[in-house]
């Protein structure tokens, strides 16, 4: 088998693994998790009718989405109204291309790194995708030709752009220590040294808060603040298009959690545990997803615990607190690295 063919096959296999885990296993059940978690926190049962513990609720939801009537408002821009959810969903799903979801597995005598594309501009790739995702929100709001939608779209656009800065700057600090823009290099650095959440606690904090804002989750879910904007940018969406928004929200959440895990929580690694051989590789995958799931739980926990910010509070938090903090963090990290001299 030529290296080219092997590379191609390996890539396909990796994509299959990631999507299988994410789309088939994680995504539908997150809805169930969220609703059960909400029930737990709010001291009520939550969905418990469909299947054991209501576990098949996800299947029922998906079915419902497919079967409902797809309504497009009369004065909407039909093309953009249709495209917008896709624009939102695609970046969320493709972020995983650069996230290392495991160490490496020996297959047919070759080591296969468990990352779909280990490119050297990984971080920039993620940021670029995030910035494209904004279009989904803004266009959905604009195309609906509805004032609530428009306000929601503009709000979310501004919010995502604002927090993207802090998020990027916080993330850059981890790449400065690792000396590379490859996410896999960051994980390797953490394996050799220490998890970034300890030396870069400030950056970690900024990144997590910004991730909440980026995913439009409570306490930053102003674009869809139901009290003021009905449902924000997806007010005019129904059926499967609404389903895509729904999916993309959870996909974004998974992507953000995965980024947090990769950059700050050691990725697929565990301290003092070597990952070698086939089983080590598989175990590393499990570790990675377990960590991601834990972070997702934090997301859910926060959602049902904290109240929503006001819009001006959101903006001043982003520009006046997080941005200076992340810049200071970056400067401090860069200074320390520069003091240590070239690696």
């Amino acid at each position: 088998m030529s290296p080219g063919t092997f590379f191609l096959l390996a890539a396909v296999a990796k994509i299959a693994v990631v999507w299988a885990i994410m789309l088939a296993a994680l995504l539908p059940n997150l809805v169930w998790m969220e609703r059960r978690g909400a029930g737990l926190i709010q001291d009520r049962p939550g969905p418990n009718r469909v299947g054991p513990f209501g576990l098949f609720q996800a299947v029922a939801d998906v079915l419902k989405m497919f079967l409902k009537e797809d309504v497009t408002p009369l004065y909407a821009d039909k093309l953009l109204h249709t495209v917008a959810p896709a624009i939102l969903l695609v970046p969320a799903l493709t972020t995983f291309a650069v996230i290392p979801f495991g160490s490496s597995i020996p297959v047919l005598g070759r080591e296969v790194k468990l990352v779909i594309a280990d490119v050297n501009i990984g971080l920039l790739y993620v940021l670029a995708l995030t910035s494209v995702g904004v279009y989904g929100l803004v266009l959905a709001g604009w195309a609906s030709n509805n004032k609530y939608s428009l306000l929601g779209g503009v709000r979310s656009g501004a919010q995502v752009i604002s927090y993207e800065l802090s998020m990027g700057l916080a993330a850059i600090a981890t790449f400065v220590t690792a000396g590379s823009l490859k996410p896999s290099a960051v994980v390797d650095w953490q394996v050799q040294n220490v998890w970034n959440c300890i030396p870069q606690a400030v950056g970690f904090l900024v990144f997590v808060v910004a991730a909440f804002a980026e995913t439009n989750r409570v306490p930053f879910d102003l674009p869809e603040a139901e009290a003021e904007l009905v449902a924000g940018y997806h007010t005019e969406y129904s059926a499967f298009k609404f389903g895509m928004f729904f999916m993309s929200e959870y996909a974004n959440m998974i992507a953000a959690s995965a980024m947090i895990v990769t950059l700050y929580l050691g990725g697929w690694s565990l301290p003092f545990v070597p990952f070698t051989g086939v089983w080590g590789g598989i175990f590393s995958i499990a570790v990675f997803w377990a960590k991601t799931l834990a972070i997702i739980c934090v997301f859910i926990w926060v959602r049902w615990t904290l109240p929503r910010f006001r819009y001006d509070q959101l903006m001043s938090l982003g520009w006046k607190v997080l941005l200076p903090l992340s810049v200071a963090n970056l400067l401090a990290v860069a200074w320390i690295v520069a003091m240590k001299g070239p690696a």
């Binding site: 953009l80 501009i121 920039l124 790739y125 670029a128 910035s131 803004v138 823009l181």
Partner: protein
Amino acid sequence: MTAELLLFAFAAGLAIAFALAMVVEKTPVRSVLSLVVTFFGITVLAVMLAAPFIAAIIMIVYAGAILVLFLFVIMLLNLNEEAREKDSRPVQRVLGLVSALALGGLLLGLTLRAGKPPVEPSALPGRIPALDEIPLVGRLLFSDYLFAFEAVAVLLLAAAVGALILSRRRMD
């Protein structure tokens, strides 16, 4: 070999097609979106030119920031459709089209003539190795182009302040 050619054809075609769409489109929002797609095509071309960093920057800065800004302004000013009435300056229109196309032809000639590489590319020792682009650019930025870099920083600051002052509502 052919895969690369195909990719080029796809990206360049995408860019040109959507650039045309951008010009033809009457709705500003659609124009902006077309331009985003064009930029996507340009990004692909940049990656093919061993400039993934620049490609990502184009995506982040242009698509992620500048064009979103355009969208915001469009929404803020509620510019739904360009005026339907006929262009009141037909001479201007024809002359513009003609001169632009003439200039295009000339430029094509000029670029293609200058396009012959001075040396055989493969013989160049200093060819950019795709993997080392970022350190290379970084080192250039902070050595040979340091002054320009600082000047651009100041320019950006000035632009930010200027934009704030320009768009501020007059407090009467």
